[in-house]
């Protein structure tokens, strides 16, 4: 374990854009002067944060969009876990209303938070809405991908859902897998549009909760 921090720092430095790698090297050099484990972990944390910083020179809107994308990806982890739990681990024939409400509430809170953070990051008036739109689109893409994987990998489980059975019968198709994939393709544009609009509205709403108009350090 003694050599873990240098290895992590080297890996994080490789993840940084070329213009930032000197910072990774600087943090690695600090390791040699940092005997305490707690402080060494802080240097790894610093490298992680530097690797995640939007590149220099991005405009305020682009910076807000990059931050929103990263936050949306992280926020999707429990969302995807929830999709797995409700569709595969604890499947029900009908949609679980509580789970659907919880999922939608979580998503709304995420989009509001994205707007709040965008307002903190820049004074540009449209940044929270732009950040919300980007986060909504990222969530849509990840959710559709998760559904595609779950529906195909666990077809024998999800094919017992009443909604899918009814839809399959009405479709006239001969393959449940074909029906599910066609449904996902048909749903994708509408879901992306819906989440983009929700992102714009909730992101703008989130900007109201920001205590200050722009980061001041």
């Amino acid at each position: 374990m003694a050599g873990l921090e240098p290895r992590l720092l080297a890996a994080l430095t490789r993840l940084m854009p070329p213009s930032r790698r000197s910072w990774g090297q600087a943090l690695a050099a600090e390791l040699g002067h940092t005997p305490r484990r707690r402080d060494r972990v802080q240097l790894v944390l610093a490298a992680t944060r530097v690797a995640l910083l939007p590149p220099a020179g991005l405009g305020d809107y682009a910076r807000a969009a990059v931050r929103a994308s990263l936050l949306a990806v992280v926020a999707c982890i429990p969302l995807v876990a929830g999709l797995y739990l409700t569709n595969v681990a604890y499947p029900e024939r009908q949609d679980n209303t509580v789970a659907v409400l919880l999922g939608n509430g979580y998503l709304a809170a995420t989009l509001i938070l994205v707007g709040t953070l965008a307002r903190r990051g820049t004074a540009r008036p449209g940044a929270p809405a732009v950040a919300g739109i980007v986060a909504g689109l990222v969530v849509a893409v990840i959710a559709l991908a998760a559904f595609a994987v779950i529906d195909n990998a666990f077809l024998s489980v999800v094919s017992h859902q009443q909604g899918k059975i009814d839809g399959f019968r009405a479709s006239g198709m001969t393959s449940m897998r074909g029906y599910i994939d066609a449904s996902l393709r048909a749903t994708a544009p509408g879901l992306a549009l819906e989440l983009a609009v929700a992102g714009a509205l909730l992101g703008s709403l989130g900007s109201v909760f920001s205590p200050r108009p722009a980061r001041s350090r």
Partner: protein, 99 residues
């Protein structure tokens, strides 16, 4: 702002990150992203030390640029505006290698 104030207290001197962390009370995980942002905005110069102790790697040193000093001396509202929305044209990479 603690970082700006700390650097502005002795503007001519190159400072180690560790020293800045101790002065400001910021842990490395918070301090270095701030230093990167300051350098991105052309407010901070970064350089490698010329003669590191034997067997130790050279470390980064930091000091404010003229723009950084100007910002540190500015009233708080002006600082917030300038640091929070620097135009892309004002952004430049850290100055490495040359003290």
């Amino acid at each position: 702002m603690r970082v700006l104030r700390s650097l502005a207290a002795d503007p001519g001197r190159w400072r180690y990150g560790y020293e800045l962390g101790a002065e400001t009370g910021l842990k490395a995980g918070s301090l270095y992203p701030i230093l990167v942002r300051l350098a991105d905005r052309g407010l901070l110069d970064a350089s490698w030390e010329d003669s590191p102790p034997h067997g130790r790697p050279a470390r980064h040193l930091y000091r404010l640029t003229a723009d950084g000093l100007e910002l540190a001396a500015a009233p708080a509202p002006a600082r917030a505006t300038s640091a929070g929305s620097a135009s892309p044209s004002a952004v430049r990479s850290p100055q490495l290698g040359g003290a």
